[in-house]
């Protein structure tokens, strides 16, 4: 195992050396920009890449950012996306409150926060793909 690592390291060193042009100046990897370090744009993959590309378009399909609060009235309830028929909601009511009111929000009619009365409505959705 150790010899495999050493051989690998040796090959990398040889490769790094070979990457230098005949004049000794370092050749730049064709894909990488500027001085040879790849960027996320070039190299990010998987979920990281998916989120990065969505964020560029101003989207947040994986709910990284805190949800924006709606006015919470009957006409303008907070829309809570869910992949099933219910989801836990934590209502902070007023800004800087130190306690959170937790309750299950079920599919169907909008429910109200027991403390501040803000309206919440469940929005069933498909899994983000």
């Amino acid at each position: 195992m150790a010899s495999r690592l050493l051989r690998g390291a040796g090959m990398l060193a040889a490769q790094a050396l070979r990457a230098r042009g005949p004049s000794g100046a370092a050749a730049v990897r064709s894909m990488a920009s500027g001085g040879g370090v790849p960027t996320d744009e070039e190299q990010a993959t998987g979920l990281e890449r998916e989120i990065m590309l969505a964020a560029k378009k101003g989207l947040d399909p994986y709910n990284i950012l805190a949800p924006k609060g709606a006015s919470g009235t009957r006409e303008d309830p907070n829309l809570v996306p869910s992949i099933s028929n219910k989801r836990i909601v934590g209502c902070i009511c007023e800004e800087d409150n130190t306690s959170v009111v937790w309750f299950w929000l079920h599919k169907g009619e909008a429910q109200r926060c027991p403390r501040c009365g803000a309206h919440y409505k469940l929005m069933p959705q498909q899994l983000a793909h």
Binding site: A16, A32, G35, P38, Q43, L47, E48, I51, P81
Partner: protein
């Protein structure tokens, strides 16, 4: 594609936590066997399984992050917290040894001659190799910062050079310290002076070796193009650890080598 609506990483089942725990059992019981029965078999087995666990666990982390893209920003944030908490725990680990040193040296007992360094101890001159060691580690702190900035500015060759310099300085420190250990006029069994000196500097030296290993892994990864200019937390974690090792040395130098001489 993914089947989750969150950005976190639900790690697939892995055997390495179990093999790690087993290796810890083998290492500890192996130590006991070595101390009491002069047999190193269990200990060697423990060290081997420990090395194998670390290699395979961290290899899997590299696969999950660089090759599979599971390390989204929230995941990275968690890793940052984790590394900070770990380094904090190490700070407390060293705090214990500094406590022991100051406990014994601030009020030296009559058995020691009521002064510090105790009777019979010739401490190392803080202006000789220990001062060189200080400059070596401080310089390595500069070179690793250079490496980081080079990485962030897409400068591959400078990053590799600076990281290599950092590692070589770390190796230089280790060699100098090993030579000091060999040449020192006192040993670990020379009373409380010897105990506090070698346990504190010894654990520090171990951490330098660990840090140098971490940096070397980063060098290999950089050679393999793993790091991007924006996403290179493995390197940042190694840099944080390296600065921590440097700071511990500064405390050691001022307390034990300088004030304690």
């Amino acid at each position: 594609m993914t089947h989750q609506s969150h950005a976190y990483h639900m790690v697939k089942p892995s055997p390495w936590p179990l093999t790690g725990a087993l290796s810890a059992l083998l290492m500890t019981s192996g130590l006991a066997m070595w101390f009491h029965f002069h047999s190193t078999t269990l200990l060697m087995l423990g060290l081997l399984t420990n090395m194998l666990t670390m290699y395979q666990w961290w290899r899997d982390v590299m696969r999950e992050s660089t090759y599979q893209g599971h390390h989204t920003l929230p995941v990275q944030k968690g890793l940052r917290y984790g590394m900070i908490l770990f380094i904090t725990s190490e700070v407390f680990f060293f705090a214990g040894f500094f406590w022991a040193f100051y406990h014994s040296s601030l009020a030296p007992t009559p058995q020691l001659g009521a002064h510090w360094p105790p009777t019979g101890i010739t401490p190392l001159n803080p202006l000789e190799v220990p001062l060189l060691n200080t400059s070596v580690l401080l310089a390595s702190g500069v070179s690793i910062t250079w490496a980081h900035h080079s990485l962030m500015e897409n400068n591959r060759n400078q990053m590799i050079q600076a990281l290599l310099i950092t590692i070589l300085l770390g190796l230089y420190f280790t060699l100098l310290q090993a030579s000091e250990y060999f040449e020192a006029p006192f040993t670990i069994s020379d009373g409380i002076y010897g105990s506090t000196f070698f346990v504190a500097t010894g654990f520090h030296g171990l951490h330098v070796i660990i840090g140098s290993t971490f940096l070397t892994i980063c060098l290999i990864r950089q050679l393999m193009f793993h790091f991007t200019s924006k996403h290179h937390f493995g390197f940042e974690a190694a840099a944080w650890y390296w600065h921590f090792v440097d700071v511990v040395w500064l405390f050691l130098y001022v307390s034990i080598y300088w004030w304690g001489s």
